[in-house]
C-alpha cells in the first residue's frame, strides 16, 4: 500500500516534469505549422529549447529601479504555473496531485502567476509595463466568468471538481454527445485564446509595443528571468490545450498505472495535442488580431457560449 502511494507520487512528479519539458515542443509545433500555412520555412521543432537554453546562460540585466519583487516574480510565476500543470491528468488519471488542487484551484494558480507578472510589469516604472499589466488584468477579468461557467457546466455533469474523478466519470459514461459540452468546448476555446495571448486577442510574435498585452509585461526581463517567464507562458498554453483535450476527448488516458496503459496514454495525448496544435495554427492564420476594445465582445461571446452550455445542461440534460 505504501509503495503504491510512493509509485503514484513518483509518477505524478514524472508527469509534471514531462509536462514542463514538453510545453516548449508544443509551442514549437504550433509555430512551425503557422509558418507552413504562411508559406514560410519554419524553425525546427527544438528551437524553443535552444532559445530557453541560450537565455538561461545569458547575463541578467536589471533596470536600476527594479525592486526585489521584480527578481522574485519569474520564480513565483513559473512555480505557480508548474503547480497548475501538475494537477491536470496528462497521461494517467489516478494521480494524487489531483486531490491537492481541483480545477478551481488551478484557475487560482494561473491567477497568482498573472498577479505577479502584472506587478513585475509595473515595477520598473515604464509606460509599457503599466499598459501591459492594465490590459492583461482587464482581459483576464472578463475571461474569468466565462471560464468558470464552462467549468461549472463540466462539473455539474461530472459531479466533481476534482479533475481525476471528473475524467473517470466521463470515461465511464462512454461516447455521449452532450450539447452542454459542445458549448462549453467552444467557450473554453475562446477563453484559452484570450488567456494564452494568441490571435485574435494578442499577437505573440509582435514587436510593436502598443499592440502588446503579454509581451509588454516581459519587456524588461532578460537572461534566466526571461527564460522562466517564456517557459511559463508556453506551459500555460500547454495547460489549456491538455485541459481541453483530456476533458472533451478523455479516451486514451491511462486508467491503470501499468506500462502498456501509460504508453497508450502518452501516445494519446501526443496525438491530441498535435491535432489541437493544428487547429490553433489554423485559427491564428485565418483570424486577424482584434483591437483591444473589441476583445470584450469576443469574451462576451465566450461567456454567452458557456452560459448556453449551462442552460443546455439544465434544460436539456437534467431529467432527460
Amino acid at each position: 500500500m505504501a509503495d503504491q502511494l510512493i509509485l503514484e507520487w513518483l509518477l505524478a512528479l514524472l508527469q509534471t516534469l514531462l509536462f514542463a519539458a514538453g510545453a516548449p515542443l508544443f509551442a514549437g509545433w504550433v509555430k512551425r505549422l503557422k509558418c507552413g500555412l504562411q508559406n514560410r520555412r519554419g524553425p525546427s521543432l527544438l528551437q524553443p529549447y535552444r532559445d530557453l537554453w541560450k537565455l538561461m546562460r545569458k547575463q541578467v540585466v536589471l533596470a536600476e529601479e527594479a525592486s526585489p519583487l521584480f527578481r522574485a516574480a519569474p520564480y513565483v510565476v513559473f512555480a505557480a504555473t508548474a503547480l497548475a500543470a501538475s494537477t491536470i491528468p496528462l497521461i494517467a488519471v489516478h494521480l494524487p496531485t489531483g486531490a491537492i488542487a481541483d480545477v478551481i484551484v488551478l484557475v487560482g494558480f494561473l491567477g497568482l502567476a498573472r498577479f505577479f507578472m502584472a506587478l513585475a510589469a509595473m515595477d520598473v516604472g515604464t509606460a509599457f509595463g503599466g499598459m501591459g499589466a492594465s490590459r492583461e488584468m482587464t482581459v483576464s477579468s472578463l475571461a474569468e466568468p466565462a471560464m468558470l461557467m464552462a467549468i461549472f457546466t463540466l462539473t455539474m455533469t461530472a459531479h466533481s471538481t476534482n479533475l481525476s474523478h471528473a475524467m473517470d466519470q466521463l470515461i465511464a459514461d462512454g461516447l455521449v454527445l452532450r450539447p452542454s459540452f459542445m458549448f462549453a468546448l467552444m467557450g473554453l476555446l475562446l477563453v484559452a485564446l484570450a488567456e494564452c495571448g494568441r490571435i485574435p486577442v494578442d499577437n505573440p510574435a509582435t514587436h510593436l509595443e502598443l499592440t502588446m498585452i503579454h509581451e509588454a509585461m516581459l519587456l524588461e526581463y532578460s537572461g534566466r528571468h526571461l527564460a522562466l517567464m517564456e517557459w511559463a507562458a508556453q506551459l500555460k498554453l500547454a495547460i489549456y490545450a491538455v485541459l481541453i483535450a483530456n476533458i472533451f476527448i478523455p479516451w486514451g488516458v491511462a486508467t491503470r498505472l501499468t506500462p502498456d496503459y501509460l504508453a497508450m496514454g502518452l501516445l494519446a495525448i501526443v496525438a491530441k495535442l498535435a491535432l489541437l496544435g493544428m487547429a490553433l495554427a489554423l485559427a491564428e492564420t485565418v483570424l486577424a488580431k482584434m483591437r483591444l476594445f473589441r476583445v470584450p465582445a469576443f469574451l462576451n461571446l465566450a461567456f454567452l457560449l458557456a452560459l448556453l452550455g449551462m442552460l443546455s445542461h439544465v434544460i436539456l440534460e437534467v431529467g432527460a
Binding site: R178, F183, L304, L316, E317, A320
Partner: protein
C-alpha cells in the same frame, strides 16, 4: 434515466436543438444584413436536420417529407429570395447598429430561462425523449419576437418573423411529432406568400421614406397631426 442512457441519435437531436438556439442568439447579435440571412438559412437547415433525425428515431415517415419541405423552403428558397431582394434594394453592404448588444443578449438569456420556467409543466406531461426541447423551441419563438422588437431595419425584422416560424415548426416536431400535413402545408405557403408581399412592401417603404428604417414609419403620425408643415 440520465442523459448518458439516451441513444446516440436522440442525443444528436438535443445537440441540434441546442445549435438552433445558438443560431437564434447569433441572429440577435448579427449586424450585417447579408450575414443574418445566412444564419437564418443555417437555422432552417438545422431544424430540417433535426426533423429528419426525429423521423429516423421514431419511425415517423411523414416527418421526412416535412423535413425536406422545411429545408427547401427555409434553407434554400426564402433565403435566396431575401438575398435577391437585398441586392435589388442595393443594401448589401449596409450595417445596422444594434443598440447595446450585451443587454439584448442578456435579455435573450433571460427569455430562455423564462421559457424553461413556463415549459416545465408541459415537459412533465410529455413522454417523449425529446421533451426537453420544448423549452428550447419556445425560446426560439420568443427570441424571434425579441429580434423583431430590437431591430429597426425592415429586412432583419422579416428574418426575425421567419425565425419565429422556425421555432413554431420545431416545437410541433418535438412535442407531438409534427402537425397534420395539411396544417404544415398551409403554414409553409403562408410564409412564402408573406415573403413575396414583404418584397413588394419594402420597395414602397423605401420610396416613401428613402430608407428601410422602420422607426421612420412614425413620421406617418407626425404628418397627420401637423397636417402639412412637416420636415422630411
Amino acid at each position: 434515466m440520465s442523459f448518458a442512457d439516451l441513444a446516440l441519435p436522440e442525443q444528436a437531436v438535443l445537440i441540434l436543438a441546442a445549435l438552433v438556439l445558438f443560431t437564434s442568439f447569433a441572429l440577435l447579435a448579427q449586424t450585417r444584413i447579408v450575414s443574418s440571412i445566412n444564419v437564418f438559412a443555417w437555422q432552417g437547415a438545422l431544424v430540417a436536420a433535426a426533423t429528419a433525425l426525429v423521423a429516423f428515431v421514431y419511425a415517423q415517415h411523414h416527418l421526412y417529407f416535412s423535413a425536406l419541405m422545411t429545408f427547401a423552403l427555409k434553407a434554400l428558397l426564402i433565403p435566396t429570395m431575401l438575398h435577391r431582394l437585398v441586392v435589388r434594394l442595393k443594401i448589401t453592404r449596409e450595417i445596422e447598429t444594434v443598440v447595446n448588444p450585451a443587454l439584448v443578449l442578456l435579455g435573450a438569456a433571460g427569455l430562455v430561462v423564462f421559457s424553461y420556467y413556463v415549459a416545465l409543466p408541459v415537459e412533465r406531461l410529455s413522454t417523449l425523449a425529446t421533451r426537453n426541447t420544448i423549452a428550447v423551441s419556445m425560446a426560439v419563438v420568443l427570441l424571434g419576437m425579441l429580434m423583431m422588437v430590437a431591430r429597426h431595419q425592415a429586412v432583419t425584422q422579416v428574418v426575425g418573423f421567419m425565425s419565429m416560424e422556425n421555432g413554431l415548426f420545431f416545437a410541433a416536431v418535438v412535442s407531438t411529432h409534427g402537425m397534420p400535413l395539411v396544417v404544415e402545408l398551409g403554414i409553409a405557403f403562408d410564409v412564402l406568400v408573406a415573403s413575396v408581399l414583404f418584397g413588394v412592401f419594402f420597395f414602397q417603404i423605401r420610396e416613401s421614406f428613402e430608407s428601410l428604417d422602420v422607426d421612420r414609419l412614425n413620421r406617418l403620425a407626425e404628418r397627420e397631426e401637423s397636417g402639412g408643415d412637416e420636415a422630411s
